[in-house]
């Protein structure tokens, strides 16, 4: 393996940029090396489902042509990127981790994908995930689980486990994931990388295969806060192909990573620190002490509706999922079971195609929306969601950011929780609230347990205050050196 190939594993976006500008390597050499490294390393973790070398090299050639012509190839010039396989790529298979879409080749690109390539980014391939992004461990993929690069017998988290693992393992510099209830932050925490869920509507979901539309986000992974911020910068902003994308202008996040966080008011919600595994709690509290040293004012706050978040989330998310997944009926998307009537065709295709967790959620969602139960479950959950959002609104009149754990415990063993769906759902407690409220939130590495398992710290801020969130996370990262 070339020296460049193995160094790709640790480079950051600014370092890649410098290498390209100083002509130490071309974008094509970089893409070839990154592919070589990723293809050699991938069998260890199963993070990538498939690679797209032709597309990657074509994009790299464009960057080299622009550099040769003295043009600016864009802020992601030459950057090797992994894309979660729930985000569509024209001409490149997009499976959503499902047997149903095993052979699906989309006819268009997601807006986020298009914007990354316009900014010079190089998409190496598509990453493994829980089927239709439903899961917290990546064990629900039809194409086998992903192993955590930090501990190969453990899960990488989910549902964006492949993207988190790819970045942690050095098989991509940055990656796209999607987050509906923690699917970017929890795997980022388990794998020891930075993972960001931006404000709802900040990034267009055009081309993100829908799971729960009032909760779905696309979000970036990086090995540094700066890289993740730069990727978000590139993909954020209004898109007329997604009516829910926000009009708010996108600030220059990277320019504001000035390390100045003195006087920032940080809230620690007491509901989030009860019932934590002790090592996770100790590490997050050590992180809080570091924030104090940086001049932040830390105070305890209360988000009283927190304990209702899991039931609220799993009603809304499954209800929306049962509707969104109705389209996989054997008529339009590649896979069809043999049947004599249309009705049997739908049923047999779906029965054979969906995995156990998708079926469970479709059933739960259909139940809570069914006649006689709608008010008791779905409407009730929407009201509780309003209370959870109101808790955050009130808290942000007193503090500028909220700091919490990401997950109650570090990465668990593969197979450890797979037979207890409720137990798995309960472990999402700290991440689902941010999605329900639609506020920006992220996981930043804050150390490792005695068994060398990464732990993440979550930072949440007001709607559209990604700037404040990144500034805090960047100052924390630089002061602690916890990344990597």
């Amino acid at each position: 393996m070339s020296a460049l190939a193995s160094s790709v594993a640790s480079l950051t976006i600014p370092q890649l940029r410098q290498g390209l500008e100083q002509r130490r390597f071309s974008a094509v050499e970089l893409a070839q090396s990154a592919l070589e490294f990723a293809q050699a390393e991938n069998p260890k973790t199963n993070a990538y489902l498939h690679f797209c070398p032709e597309r990657a090299l074509a994009a790299a050639e464009r960057v080299d042509r622009q550099l040769a012509a003295g043009e600016d190839p864009g802020p992601l010039a030459g950057v090797p990127i992994a894309v979660k396989d729930v985000i569509v790529t024209e001409g490149v298979r997009t499976t959503c981790g499902s047997r149903l879409l095993e052979r699906y080749v989309p006819p268009y690109d997601a807006t986020a994908v298009r914007r990354m390539e316009q900014a010079g980014g190089i998409i190496l391939g598509k990453t493994n995930c829980d089927e239709f992004a439903m899961g917290s461990s990546n064990e629900n993929s039809a194409f086998g689980p992903v192993r955590n690069p930090a501990a190969l017998d453990r899960v990488p988290g989910g549902s964006s486990g492949g993207s988190a693992a790819a970045v942690a393992q050095g098989m991509a510099v940055v990656a796209l994931g999607s987050d509906t209830g923690g699917s970017v932050r929890q795997p980022a925490s388990f794998c020891g990388v930075v993972g960001v869920t931006p404000t709802y509507g900040r990034v267009s979901r055009y081309g993100l295969v829908a799971f729960a539309s009032s909760l779905d986000h696309i979000g970036p992974f990086g090995r540094t806060v700066r890289d993740a911020a730069l990727l978000l910068q590139t993909i954020a902003g209004r898109d007329e192909c997604d009516a829910t994308s926000a009009f708010a202008p996108v600030p220059d996040y990277v320019a504001q990573l000035d390390g100045n966080v003195a006087g920032r008011r940080i809230g620690l919600p007491r509901e989030y620190f009860e019932g934590l595994a002790s090592e996770t709690g100790d590490l997050v509290m050590r992180g809080v002490e570091l924030l104090k040293k940086l001049g932040c004012e830390v105070r305890e706050i209360s988000l009283p509706a927190t304990r209702f978040a899991v039931p609220c989330y799993y009603i809304i998310a499954t209800a929306e999922a049962s509707s969104n997944l109705a389209r996989y009926d054997g008529v339009r998307y590649t896979t069809r079971a043999t049947a004599d009537t249309l009705s049997d065709l739908y049923r047999a295709t779906r029965g054979a195609g969906f995995g156990a967790e998708c079926k469970r959620r479709i059933m739960l969602g259909t139940y809570v929306l069914s006649h006689g139960y709608y008010d008791a479950y779905y409407l009730k959950a929407q009201k509780v969601r309003a209370l959870i959002a109101e808790d955050f609104r009130k808290a942000f009149t007193e503090v500028d950011a909220i700091v919490t754990p990401v997950s109650p415990s570090p990465a668990f063993k593969i197979g450890e929780k797979i037979d207890d769906p409720l137990e798995m759902y309960l472990s999402d407690i700290y991440t689902i609230t941010g999605d329900l409220a639609g506020i920006p939130c992220m996981s930043v590495p804050c150390g490792k347990t005695a068994a060398d398992l990464p732990v993440g710290m979550q930072i949440l801020t007001r709607h559209f205050d990604e700037t404040g969130m990144f500034r805090l996370a960047d100052a924390f990262e630089k002061a602690g050196g916890f990344t990597g």
Binding site: E240, L342, F354, M363, A389
Partner: protein, 99 residues
């Protein structure tokens, strides 16, 4: 038990899912556990709370509208490329209407 196997069969029918007997038994237990946990929501008085259907939308109702102009779109061929069975520019399915 909130959920019986009969309920599971009814909901599976609504959801167009063909399930095996083993799946039905497993789902009855899982859904029962999960829905029992969800009953916790009833502890909250929400009689004066407006349901939250979407996160935020600060712009005027017409902000997302645009001029109704013709623009390029997917070709019929591209749109049907992923179909398991297509013909004459349409998706093909088993006969629905008896003549």
């Amino acid at each position: 038990m909130k959920i019986t196997e009969k309920d599971v069969r009814y909901v599976a029918d609504l959801a167009n899912l063909k399930l095996t007997d083993a799946e039905i038994a497993g789902l009855a237990k899982d859904l029962d556990d999960i829905l029992t946990h969800m009953d916790a929501l009833n502890e909250l008085d929400t009689s004066n709370v407006e349901p939250m259907a979407q996160v935020l939308f600060d712009n005027e109702e017409t902000a997302t509208l645009r001029e109704d102009q013709q623009r390029p779109c997917l070709s019929n061929e591209a749109a049907l490329a992923a179909a398991p069975l297509a013909g004459n520019g349409y998706y093909k399915v088993p006969k629905v209407i008896e003549r």
